[in-house]
Symmetry: C2
């Protein structure tokens, strides 16, 4: 499996989500309408805060996955549009709360809502969006989908607390790191993918396939995100290189470099991560250490591993345009860093 | 309708919730077990934070209302225990987020969770409890109950944002104040009461009766709470007299005194509420103004008004011990301030 696709003429073209975008374009039009309508309220501050983040150009990967996963099994109703919108609202609510928890100033290249309207509004508008997400799920009326998404909501919060408890702890093991990203990121991808076959009335095997696809895609996605923080360009990611470093986040690149480092290097990481000695010079040194220990390359390697599991999860399913598009999403996620 | 009950011998005894406590004791035992089990997590910080608030001696009025309302219509299953626990978790999640939003230091006579574990943990553990609440509701499997409680979750958050938007605004009208407390407090009481008849399969009329009872009880409850902040004893309320004043909260007592006051008095209120000139001397002066303008007495009068509507909402229902207990809750709520 490659990060880039080989065309016949030998030119290499990066994977994209264009097929997924095209296949879900009509449904996403309805999702976007529903987003605007359900983020609405007579309380002015709610649509202001919600739309600030909603309109800030996220790719809306999660709702597209839900839509494609429902289409794949011939779903003909409109429940997938509501569930996809619920998934995006859950994600948006998480981002609003995350920015408060991380005290972040920027998100997707814009000031965070908390910098403009304050932590208070971010917490409460997040709560509102979560409430609206549940109302839409209830409206769809599938108890199985409700079960999957409400369980994901608990797990996401659990993952965030886990991350908070492990904050600035350089002794965090790779296993602990995976437990955190599985809960805080992969659980929602997994739920987003699984509710598609669920409302389409697909078999338990098909549900399990999409659930596994989503979970492993989510793990790969977060690993690449964490790698990008030390290597992507600020423009691509909508955040600055080194944000995680400056916030003292213990992500896999740091875990690997710390574990593989000398005693002196570990001292450096402790000062940087635990004591906030993380200026530009320190970032430059950190980047050098990550390279020396192949920490970014191996983080990407781990992502490829999960990407392959996601790919195999869909292997038994019959060939459809949706399946092909979902497979390309895996390559796209990984190619973001290439 | 009196705040106190007249016994035959002429002795006056304050209303209590003892009958409600007795009627729901067995079920509340199961609620309390479920609270402990569903607030559990391998992530240590979650039960620590959750139990700090859960064990801090709230009366658990809302879950008792749910249980009694289900019993009243002969409900025989165990769904009411799960719904009652969900209601209490929704309430606890709101308190955790409220304390962050209000930057509160004390709640029920104890340090708030945010003072011990930080705002971050309070936000995230609140999210976790909300997720767990939804999982329990889904487990009960009543889409009607899910609809009622998820709608309440959105409305509560909307009410909190409304309150935030109106913060420190002395021009807030009485109508605007009622819109806020209806959303942030009464909506959950209303939902807590209505889901009882809903899972018991009661008629639409019975559902409407309990919904109205809960809504009006909730309004009375919040009005008394706001009156108590200027007059109750610190011990009863678990918070200090004058907390709302020091936080610059524009509650009904202040709205009434401000609207009825002289130009000079309005200047005083502006300095106190908008410019935080709210030391002990200012609190003493404020209390004097509230008395002069009968602002506390009239706030209690408004509470009695809603209490009477709550009472009449249950009037058509046949006499049961549960009905009698729920009626006494109205008197209890109002007598807290007497």
């Amino acid at each position: 499996m490659g990060v880039v696709l080989n065309l016949e003429d030998g030119k290499r073209v990066a994977a994209s989500i264009q097929d997924l975008v095209d296949l879900t374009a009509a449904d996403m039009g309805r999702v976007n309408e529903l987003i605007l309508s359900k983020a609405g309220s007579d309380v002015e501050m709610i649509p202001e805060v919600a739309n600030h983040l909603i309109s800030s150009g996220g790719k809306r990967l999660r709702p597209m996955v839900t839509l494609a996963a429902a289409q794949m099994f011939g779903y003909a109703g409109d429940g997938h549009v509501k569930l996809a919108t619920s998934v995006e609202f859950m994600h948006t609510a998480t981002l609003l709360h995350d920015d408060v928890v991380d005290e972040s100033g920027m998100r997707r290249g814009k000031k965070t809502a908390r910098m403009i309207w304050g932590n208070q509004a971010s917490v409460l508008v997040g709560d509102f969006l979560l409430g609206q997400a549940f109302r839409m799920m209830v409206d769809v009326g599938s108890l199985d989908a409700l079960d999957i998404l409400s369980t994901a909501a608990s797990i996401i919060a659990e993952g965030e607390v886990m991350q908070l408890s492990a904050a600035k702890n350089l002794e965090t093991t790779e296993d602990e790191y995976f437990a955190v990203i599985k809960a805080k990121t992969a659980a929602l991808f997994s739920a987003a993918a699984e509710v598609g076959p669920v409302i389409a009335g697909a078999t338990r095997t098909d549900r399990a396939a999409l659930r596994s696809y989503g979970m492993n895609l989510g793990l790969a996605f977060q690993l690449i995100d964490d790698a990008l923080d030390y290597g992507g360009s600020s423009k691509d990611l909508g955040k600055n290189v080194g944000d995680d470093f400056r916030e003292g986040k213990v992500t896999l690149p740091v875990i690997l470099a710390y574990r593989r480092g000398t005693a002196a290097e570990r001292e450096f990481w402790k000062k940087a991560i635990e004591d906030n000695e993380s200026d530009d010079a320190a970032l430059e040194k950190a980047t050098g250490l990550l390279t020396r220990h192949a920490a970014i390359a191996d983080t990407i390697g781990r992502a490829r591993h999960f990407g392959e599991i996601a790919r195999d999860a869909l292997a038994p399913l019959k060939a459809t345009p949706q399946k092909a598009a979902l497979l390309e999403v895996i390559d796209f996620c990984i190619s973001r860093v290439a």
